[in-house]
Each structure stands twice: as C-alpha cells, then as structure tokens.
C-alpha cells in the first residue's frame, strides 16, 4: 500500500494505522496532530484509523514561529 506522509511517498504494510505511521516517525507522545486527506484524526482514533491506499497523511507539531 502506498501513502504520502508529510509529502514523501511511503510503502506501508496492508492494515497499517495512523498509529503505525507515528511510530515510524518516532513522534513524541504529545504536541502532535494528524490530518488524513484533509481531515483531522483525533488522537483517540489513531490506533483504529486505517491508512488507505493513496492517503495523504500530514503529521504536524509546534515549532518556533510567529
């Protein structure tokens, strides 16, 4: 299965979830948010939200700015 994560093409095993993506990114436990194809995926739903073929996943965190 192919998905785009933060603009990069990823190959993921079938059945992968949003949580799997975050593990691979080594995301910290807090301060992170995920959008799947333009919709926010609430944190509580990460383990049960599948990544679909062709999904665009954005994983954002806070940085210095403004």
């Amino acid at each position: 299965m192919k998905a785009i994560v933060n603009g990069e093409h990823w190959d993921l095993p079938d059945g992968s979830t949003v949580s799997d993506v975050l593990r691979r990114l080594d995301a910290p436990a807090s301060g992170v948010a995920v959008a799947r194809s333009g919709e926010v995926v609430p944190k509580a739903e990460w383990p049960d939200t599948p990544v679909r073929d062709g999904d665009e996943i954005e994983v954002l965190t806070a940085v210095q700015g403004g």
């Binding site: 933060n6 603009g7 992170v32 210095q64 403004g66």
Partner: protein, 268 residues
C-alpha cells in the same frame, strides 16, 4: 494625623500604578507584551528573552514533523508557564488556515489561534477575503480567534463582528521593522474596537512598541525585533519597558499638541 497604622499603610502613596491587566476572551494576562518565538538561534537565547520580556502569551507555528524537529519550544513554554498561541503562518487560503487551526487545537489542546492568511511571500500581507472567511469558520467551530489583519479600520470591524476575540493590525509588513506606518489607521481601529487591539508585526525597536501603546493598543505582539536583535534579552527588556511606558502615557492623558509655544513659567 492618622494614627491607625493599618490605614496609613493602605493609603501610602506609591509610584506603582494599579494592576492593569490585559483581558482577552475572559483570560487575564499581567503583561501587555505578546511574544513570538520565531527567529531565535537557539532555545537558551529564546528562554532568556522570554523571561526578560515578562510575556505570558507567546506564539508557535505548526509545521510538518521531521526527525530533527522535537518539541523543544513546547517544553520551554510549558516550563515557563507561558500560554501558547498557535498561529497559522504559511497559510494562503481559508481552507488551509482552518485545517491548521484544527490541527493546532488537537496537538496543543488549545482553542486559541493567531489566524494568519497571507497573500504572497514578498509582502506577507493578510489576504482580507480569505482572512474573514477563515475567521467566520473558526468562530463557528468554537475557536478563540485572534486575526493578524491589515491596518484597515473597516476590516477590523468586520472581524470583530464575526466574533474574533481581538484584532491584530500590522504596523508594517512582517519582519520589516518599519514601525507603525499609518498611526492614524491604528487610532481609528482603536476608537471603534470593542475587543482588544494588538499591534502585530513591523515593530523594530522599543519606541515603536511605546507608540503602539500610546495610540491606544491593548498590547503589542513582536518576535523578530527581539529574537534577531544583537542582544535579544536586552531588547526584550527594552520592549517590556517600552510597552509599559506607552501604556502609562496613554492612561495618563497626554497634553494636546500646539502649533505655537506656550510658556510653562508664569508671566512676569
């Protein structure tokens, strides 16, 4: 002479003004200087500047996570007890800004947002059409919206009518340090605003921050002027004092400006 020592103590004159707090959407802040975190070369320098500034509200940006990212700035702001104000910097459309605000709410557990929707990279000026659209959507979605806006009194009113918790007109374009290019427009915005007016962008040095407060702004938001100064902590102190001086001057009520001289000593 009053012999009641308690009463004497209570009425003792002081040079310190009464507490003068900034209230945004019911939240009270002791400092009228809102800081941004952008531009600091490292977190130690940023920490010194933030501590010295006395700020209680500080912006962060939302960006794609990468291996080198980390959450250092978040840890720092939480350790200093500073309220987070995520922004939507980099967004060009209402749709982008609304999604970024929702992601910030999810990541940072706050429904406050500094709404930025800019038109192009050379000016970074707000796109008023997209800005108002995004503000309306985010207010409907329960956000406390603080829009970065043009120094346009009409747009400022429209944003307030849309339910924004403050309006944040620019003094001049982001990062230019050109100060307040149209002070009369800022005064017009202040004169009609029912929400706090926060001068955002263009501050170059302490006198700019002071002027913003003298014009009647409720607070000043700045980043580059401090973080890119040769000595950021010292400039943070100057900004802190500039904001305080300008606020005091505004409350004190300045003398009218005159064309001709007027003697301050009695005539002979």
């Amino acid at each position: 002479m009053n012999t009641d020592t308690n009463e004497v103590h209570l009425t003792m004159p002081t040079d310190e003004p009464a507490p003068d707090e900034l209230v945004i959407a019911g939240t009270v802040f002791g400092s009228r200087l809102v800081m941004g975190t952008g531009g600091a070369t490292n977190l130690a320098i940023l920490e010194r500047a933030l501590r010295t500034s006395g700020t209680e509200l500080t912006t962060v940006a939302m960006r794609r996570m990468d291996a080198t990212g980390g959450t250092g700035v978040l840890d720092l702001l939480r350790r200093l007890g500073i309220t987070l104000l995520p922004n939507t910097a980099g967004c060009r459309t209402a749709a982008e800004a609304v999604l970024t605000a929702r992601l910030a709410r999810e990541a940072l557990d706050t429904d406050w947002v500094k709404l930025e929707v800019v038109a192009d990279d050379r000016t970074l000026l707000p796109d008023p059409i997209e800005l108002l659209d995004a503000a309306e959507q985010l207010v409907d979605d329960g956000f406390t919206v603080l829009p970065y806006t043009n120094d346009d009194p009409v747009l400022a009113l429209r944003l307030e009518e849309a339910g924004c918790a403050a309006v944040m007109p620019l003094g001049s374009p982001i990062g230019t340090g050109l100060g307040i290019r149209n002070p009369h427009n800022i005064e017009l915005i202040v004169a009609r605003a029912g929400v706090p007016v926060i001068l955002d962008a263009g501050i170059g040095t302490a006198s700019d921050a002071c002027v913003a407060m003298e014009l009647g702004c409720s607070a000043v938001l700045l980043a580059t002027a401090v973080t890119k100064a040769t000595d950021p902590a010292l400039m943070a102190a100057a900004m802190r004092d500039g904001v305080r001086a300008g606020r005091a001057a505004r409350l004190a009520g300045r003398v009218p400006q005159r064309f001709w001289a007027q003697a301050s000593s009695p005539p002979r």
